[in-house]
């Protein structure tokens, strides 16, 4: 095969991988006996879940008043964190579905981790609408279910749309994630012994790797990818409509849907970097996750950062250009008011720090990328905080302006949500192949393979 074809296919070279067996070994190695570090992290995350449980318990026992919420700021850290996690959940499906459809082969090393992240992030995000509710025990009233009172949810309310958007997204991304894992689970089954073997046997659904199975798998995968693709755009659009359909100055803007989707991809890719860098290090996956991959992710980050920053500027411009006193005041307050620091964290972390990604040296430095990704994660949390809190605290009625400060309980729940997410992710790293074995093999350098052999497959 000549080099031109390879470039056209976009295959990512893995110069350190010598054989297909090595892929299996490298990917399945983490599934062995975990080390002390893993146990320590697991213990930490369980402690964090404990914090979440206790904090929520306190809130349920006493009332939602244990938060710092008030009038006029009815939403705060909870909804901020909800939107943050929904945003995180975006890149997984983006990478696995959209990039799959666009045949971007650099996705293959990272999409498993990204998809896992998606599923866990939605699971985390899904907690917050419940947590922030005043009477969570009646939360099921948001579901349309037949009842003797003929009471239905209000389909005009974006919160009801949220229920559908998030549950749909969770269902599809979980199915997509699981389906894509099946061949690798079979590989893990083949390598495992004892109880683990039984476990993988069950969840790999008897995958044998026949042509017929691969044929169906490929079809199903592409269908699901096609199904998931609009969801990438729709979920965060719907979440953005929680804000955009209201009349709150600072929320009511038509730019919100694309702005939120871009922001979601931005934060999601950053989170993938944040998660895979330690993963790669800990499990010795340097050969599979190369600079080339990170370079591609960095570029995606850079692009979405530019979109997001453009959206920020456009919001400020529109506020000024509208001539609307209330709108202007809200954005002035955003930049120079009580919460100026949050806004500037947002602007610096999301708009200015990623500028460094223009430089190839930065894109090729894993520590630099990791650091930038942390900045972006922080910046994107604050972006939602700024949108929600600064808009609400300075609305139409000057006499009703007020300030909000998250309480210790809210902080406990927010921190706990990271632990909850980390818990699942840690389990994932030990129980499921963190890199897609089968797909990776597809893109290995052709010199390792007989000429003309293409498509998924190979030995299991």
């Amino acid at each position: 095969m000549n080099p031109t074809t390879e470039v056209l296919r976009g295959a990512v070279p893995h110069p350190d991988i010598q054989s297909l067996e090595e892929v299996n070994r490298a990917v399945l190695r983490p599934l062995g006996r975990p080390g002390r570090g893993w146990w320590a992290l697991l213990a930490l995350s369980i402690a964090g879940i404990g914090l979440l449980a206790v904090s929520w318990g306190v809130q349920l026992w006493f009332g939602i008043g244990v938060t710092g919420l008030n009038s006029p700021v009815g939403w705060g850290a909870y909804i901020t964190t909800f939107v943050f996690w929904v945003g995180i959940a975006h890149s997984g499906t983006l990478i696995s579905a959209i990039l799959f459809l666009f045949r971007a082969p650099w996705r293959q090393s990272i999409y498993r981790a990204a998809e896992a992240m998606t599923v866990f992030a939605v699971m985390t995000a899904g907690l917050f609408p419940l947590i922030h509710m005043g009477r969570v025990w009646h939360g099921y009233w948001l579901m349309p279910y037949p009842n003797s009172r003929f009471l239905w949810p209000n389909f005009r309310s974006p919160l009801v749309w949220d229920v559908f958007a998030v549950t749909t997204y969770f269902t599809v991304s979980a199915v997509f994630f699981y389906l894509g894992t099946i061949p690798d689970l079979a590989a893990a089954r083949d390598a495992a012994t004892g109880l683990r073997k039984k476990f993988y046997k069950v969840i790999s659904l008897g995958w044998r790797g026949t042509d017929r199975e691969w044929h169906h798998f490929g079809k199903a995968y592409i269908f699901l990818a096609a199904l998931a693709t609009p969801l990438v755009l729709s979920v965060h659009s719907v979440v953005s409509w929680d804000f955009a359909v209201t009349i709150v100055p600072g929320w009511h803007a038509t730019i919100f849907a694309p702005y939120f989707v871009a922001g979601a991809i931005f934060s999601g890719v950053a989170m993938v970097i944040t998660l895979t860098v330690p993963l790669r290090k800990a499990f010795g996956l340097e050969a599979l996750l190369t600079n080339k991959h990170y370079d591609a992710m960095a570029k995606l980050c850079l692009m979405t950062s530019l979109i997001v920053f453009y959206a920020y500027l456009s919001e400020f411009f529109m506020a000024w250009y509208s001539g609307e006193e209330v709108e202007r005041a809200a954005f002035w307050e955003r930049l120079f008011g009580h919460y100026w620091w949050a806004t500037w964290i947002m602007l610096v972390c999301n708009g200015m720090v990623p500028v460094m990604l223009w430089f190839k040296r930065v894109r090729h430095s894993i520590p630099a990328l990791f650091t930038i990704s942390i900045f972006v994660n922080i910046g994107m949390w604050f972006e939602r905080y700024v949108i929600i809190v600064t808009s609400l605290h300075h609305e139409y009625e000057p006499f009703a302006w007020g300030l909000y400060r998250p309480s210790i309980v809210e902080m406990g729940i927010v921190v706990g949500s990271f632990a909850w997410f980390g818990f699942w992710f840690l389990l994932f790293t030990r129980l499921l192949p963190p890199v897609a074995i089968a797909e990776l093999k597809e893109v290995l350098p052709t010199r390792m393979r007989p000429a003309g052999a293409g498509g998924p497959g190979g030995d299991q």
Binding site: H132, M133, G134, R135, T246
Partner: protein
């Protein structure tokens, strides 16, 4: 038991509410014992309210009350529409009297101090002990307050028969005013002021809308005077004083005078008005004070005084004051000067009446109290009985009352709940609350109001009317006062009244008086003119001395919520009512001018130490442009130590800073007498304030219109009238429907969502006249009482979680303390606007808020899941959330709102008590609407305009609120919303189509850009 039943038989009461089916509120889960009526009491129908008349006992004004009872419990008090003082209105303090009735800290029965502990004692033993000790005392004092005419009479009789001396002390008594009336006109009375008749009003610091004389009556009179009428005329009000009180904030013009110089301004005005012939014996004095002479001393330019006086002379005018806040060492002289001013302007007999005064009860100044303290200290007093007052709190610490009282061998308190005086008493004989007791007052000669028990005494508390106790003691002391019970005594006096009223049947007169609540005995003398008298005392009009160093004067003023706060501080409704001026709840604050605060380097919430030669207190700063730079103000009413669980520890007692000094001429306790030293302590106390911004920030929240622009073509109505609009309402919100944006037009045809009705349904709407609203906040408390609105506690208010359904917004437009000029403070009672196009409705995921067919935006508490999305999307921010359960018997957490037994007896059974985690807001008193609708449906009639009165409108002394069906174009609310001043808040900006129209405030000065 039988006593109470007999009593009920006497009360052939009026069932003012008539029939109708009340909606029983969902009960709490605390139903322990259900007992059906075996034999139902005649006048009680379960679910239907019974109303009784009585008279409010909160202050001397004597507002007639209607008391609403349900199943034998008092649940609400309202003004008696037939009473000449209240005319259906009531102030916050009056409403909160319910919380004194059900005060959980009331004494459970008579108590005797043994060692440090109070031990229960039986009434027989207690009365026996009093009789015995009084007989041995060899002279005793009976200290009392403002307690009503007959009880005062009985007390005098009792003291006379048993060798005691009655001392009346009311911290807010207008001693200088009475003395000035005596000096100038020879009448020791509080004159009757007719604000309604005046067209030009000048107050020399008299806070007549808050704490001075009769705030409800004067609030009404003021609103009628100053509200613009149909001919476009409006009375003018000038406030002369060092600090803008709530009353001052309602002024059109402010003369920020040097502390203590009211007399000079008043005399200079009299000089300009033409003191010569009219000033009689004061001719020379008036001639000596011309505006040019006093300008530098008063800090007001001569031209300002001259102009003011010339307008005052045009009449009909009225000068008031100074009030308690200005009770300095020259207070009587200042009152004399104001009396002269009224006299020379020809106001006596027109707007001021000395012949038919407001009050002619004996004076209750400080001087007699001082003598009593001296006597106690001397050890000559064997016993002291304290009733209806709390001198241990309401006198400056430097008076030595506590020590002197402590040294008395036998101290009896008739307090119904613990207070600072009862805390050191030996024997406590708890009196009944006025809603459980008999009594009467006279608010003006010829006007008599009866007080009757409106419910059987709250069973948690074994109380007894003090009149009965005194009679029993007298009997045991071998004195026969001619009657056995206070009720008999009262009947006896009313039999005399009946005779003087010319009634044939005394019983019928009595019953009719009970039914109506007020009796006219003879005609009120029409105020004939009174001539000026030669002064019999030496009066110096020079500015008074202020003790201490520096240039900061300390003004101690009566709180507009509590008054002096001696007996009413243990009420959450008052504690949590935002002060009408500062909007601060619960704690005390120090008012400082912004420039002074900058010089001192203090911000809002910085705790400062105030020290005077007489004491010091610490309180947080509240920066206020409406106070002179050389004045610091502190309200009374805080700093209780033994007044109950809700009062203790809140704020500071301002009297600790004052000397124990009576004003030389009148004997009134001086309040404005000392300089003060302000030292920042470095500590912080976040203000429990509900105020976000004091400025409208160029938004059309409360626009005003200049009087000159009123009636001009096209002026002022650019907001309500914005031509045809298109609304996306047809076919589920996709097809535009044309509308002219009138409230009655909404919801539009084709609007599918919510249960929108047809045109036969009414569309309930409200109009609030901001030219009349004085910001007094009576509506806030009335609403709280009516709708079971919880209180939340200081910490929660600080966090922004107050739950009042009415947020009385207060914006400064023009507040300038450096020179005389216009003042413009805007008030706006912000309630749920019941938008036709409500932003809260579409965002609720569960339809917990929706539109009724008659246009009310309702909140279904049981359906609410608490997402708070509706509150976020409400541009008016009128939705309040139950962050905790604030209605439990125990607080969910320390310091949170709760309703301990028996305070929960007050709950209105027609309104659901809300639980933790649900949203709530103004309901337009939907239970009242439904009650009238049900009654009309049963009777087959229609609802008349004005028949349905929400609690806020009912209570408003200023008559600023109108409610009704706006689809009926003849209704008052429809007319009001067509007024050229009518506008709807933010409507133009966000097209919410509110059902509440506001009528712009009318100013005498030009307003910016015709809008605000």
């Amino acid at each position: 038991m039988s006593d109470g039943l007999k009593r009920r038989d006497f009360l052939k009461v009026v069932g003012a509410s008539g029939a109708g089916v009340g909606v029983l509120g969902c009960s709490t889960d605390k139903v322990e014992k259900l007992m059906p009526y075996v034999t139902a009491p005649e006048e009680i129908t379960p679910g239907v309210a019974t109303w009784y008349t009585t008279v409010c006992g909160e202050c001397d004004a004597g507002c007639g009350m209607w008391v609403r009872t349900r199943e034998g419990r008092v649940v609400k008090v309202e003004g008696n529409p037939e009473h000449p003082v209240s005319r259906g209105s009531l102030c916050s303090r009056g409403h909160s009297s319910l919380q004194a009735l059900y005060n959980p800290d009331r004494f459970t029965g008579p108590m005797l101090r043994q060692g440090q502990e109070l031990q229960p004692i039986s009434w027989e033993d207690a009365e026996g002990m009093v009789a015995e000790r009084l007989a041995d005392a060899g002279g005793y004092y009976l200290l009392t307050g403002s307690v009503g005419t007959s009880l005062t009479g009985l007390m005098s009789d009792f003291a006379g028969a048993t060798g005691g001396q009655v001392v009346r002390y009311d911290p807010l008594a207008e001693a200088p005013l009475r003395e000035a009336s005596r000096i100038v006109f020879g009448r020791d009375v509080v004159p009757w002021y007719d604000l309604e008749e005046a067209r030009f009003l000048v107050s020399f610091g008299a806070d007549f809308l808050e704490s001075w004389l009769s705030p409800v009556r004067d609030g009404r009179g003021f609103a009628r005077m100053s509200g613009v009428d149909e001919e476009g005329r409006k009375g003018h009000f000038t406030f002369v004083g060092s600090r803008l009180s709530l009353t001052g904030q309602n002024a059109d013009e402010w003369l920020p005078i040097q502390p203590g110089t009211e007399a000079l301004v008043a005399l200079a005005m009299a000089n300009v008005v033409g003191g010569g012939p009219n000033a009689g014996p004061y001719r020379n004095i008036v001639a000596a004070y011309n505006p040019e002479n006093v300008a530098s001393i008063t800090g007001v330019e001569a031209a300002s005084i001259r102009e003011l006086a010339e307008r005052f002379a045009e009449g009909p005018s009225l000068a008031l004051g100074p009030g308690i806040a200005g009770l300095h060492r020259g207070a009587t002289a200042a009152n004399v000067a104001v009396a002269i001013l009224n006299a020379v302007a020809g106001n006596v007999g027109r707007t001021v009446h000395y012949d038919a005064p407001q009050l002619d009860a004996p004076s209750a100044g400080f001087a007699p109290m001082q003598e009593a303290i001296e006597a106690m200290r001397g050890g000559d007093v064997g016993a002291v009985l304290v009733h209806g007052s709390n001198p241990a709190y309401a006198l400056p610490a430097s008076s030595g009352f506590r020590e002197a009282f402590g040294s008395v061998p036998f101290k009896v308190s008739f307090a119904s709940a613990m207070d600072e005086t009862a805390a050191v008493a030996d024997l406590i004989l708890p009196d009944r609350h006025f809603l459980e007791a008999w009594g009467d007052t006279s608010s003006r000669p010829g006007q008599w109001t009866l007080r009757q028990p409106t419910m059987r005494p709250v069973p948690h508390f074994d109380s007894k009317e003090t009149g009965d106790v005194l009679l029993s003691v007298a009997t045991q002391m071998g004195q026969d006062l001619g009657v056995q019970t206070f009720y008999e005594y009262l009947r006896g006096r009313w039999a005399d009244l009946a005779a003087s009223a010319g009634a044939d049947d005394a019983d019928a007169f009595w019953r009719e008086s009970l039914r109506v609540g007020v009796a006219q005995v003879g005609t009120t003398p029409s105020g004939s003119s009174t001539t000026l008298r030669q002064p019999d005392r030496l009066i110096a009009f020079d500015p008074p001395e202020f003790d201490g160093e520096g240039d900061l004067h300390l003004m101690v003023y009566p709180s507009s919520r509590f008054g002096d706060g001696a007996l009413n501080a243990n009420r959450t409704w008052l504690q949590e009512l935002p002060d009408p001026v500062s909007k601060i709840t619960w704690h005390s604050w120090v008012e400082i001018h912004p420039d002074r605060a900058e010089a001192l380097g203090v911000r809002n919430g910085d705790v400062v130490e105030l020290s005077t030669p007489y004491g010091s207190v610490e309180a947080p700063v509240w920066i206020y442009p409406g106070i002179r730079e050389d004045v610091i103000a502190l309200a009374m009413g805080g700093g209780h130590t033994d007044a109950g669980r809700f009062a203790d520890g809140n704020g500071v007692n301002a009297l600790d800073l004052l000397p124990s000094e009576a004003e030389a001429l009148s004997g009134g306790l001086v309040h404005f007498v000392t300089k003060v030293d302000v030292t920042p302590t470095g500590a912080r106390h976040r203000l429990a304030s509900i105020a976000g911004s004091d400025s409208q920030s160029d938004r059309p929240i409360t626009p005003a219109i200049a009087l000159a622009d009123l009636g001009a073509e096209g002026a002022g109505d650019e907001e309500g009238d914005h031509g045809p609009l298109k609304e996306l309402q047809g076919v589920g919100g996709f097809v535009p429907v044309e509308t002219d944006g009138r409230p009655e037009a909404f919801p539009l045809e084709g609007a599918r969502y919510g249960e929108y009705g047809d045109e036969n349904e009414p569309r309930w709407a409200m109009a609030i006249d901001l030219d009349k609203c004085t910001g007094c906040s009576a509506c806030v408390t009335a609403c709280q009482a009516e709708n079971n609105v919880p209180w939340v506690g200081e910490g929660q208010v600080t966090m922004g979680r107050d739950m009042m359904w009415i947020r009385l917004e207060r914006y400064y437009e023009v507040v300038e303390a450096s020179h005389a000029g216009p003042v413009d403070v805007r008030f706006l009672p912000m309630i749920c606007q019941h938008c036709g196009n409500a932003p809260c409705e579409p965002v609720c995921p569960v339809f917990a808020t929706y539109h009724t067919p008659d246009g009310i935006n309702t909140q279904v508490y049981n359906r609410c899941v608490g997402t708070r999305y509706c509150a976020n999307n409400c541009p008016y921010k009128v939705r309040v959330f139950n962050w905790y359960s604030f209605t439990d018997e125990e607080p969910v957490r320390e310091g949170l709102g709760h309703v301990p037994e028996p305070l929960n007896w007050q709950f209105n059974p027609d309104v659901t008590v809300r639980e933790n985690g649900v949203m709530e807001k103004c309901s337009f008193c939907i239970h009242r609407i439904r009650k009238h609708q049900d009654r009309a449906a049963v009777a087959g009639t229609t609802i008349a305009d004005g028949e349905i009165i929400p609690a806020c409108q009912q209570s408003c002394p200023a008559e600023a609120i109108v409610f009704g069906n706006i689809r009926d174009s003849d209704s008052r609310v429809a007319q009001a919303s067509r007024d050229e001043r009518a506008y709807r808040v933010l409507d133009e900006l966000i097209n919410t189509q509110p059902a509440v129209s506001y009528l712009k405030k009318v100013t005498f000065h030009e307003v910016d850009s015709g809008q605000h």
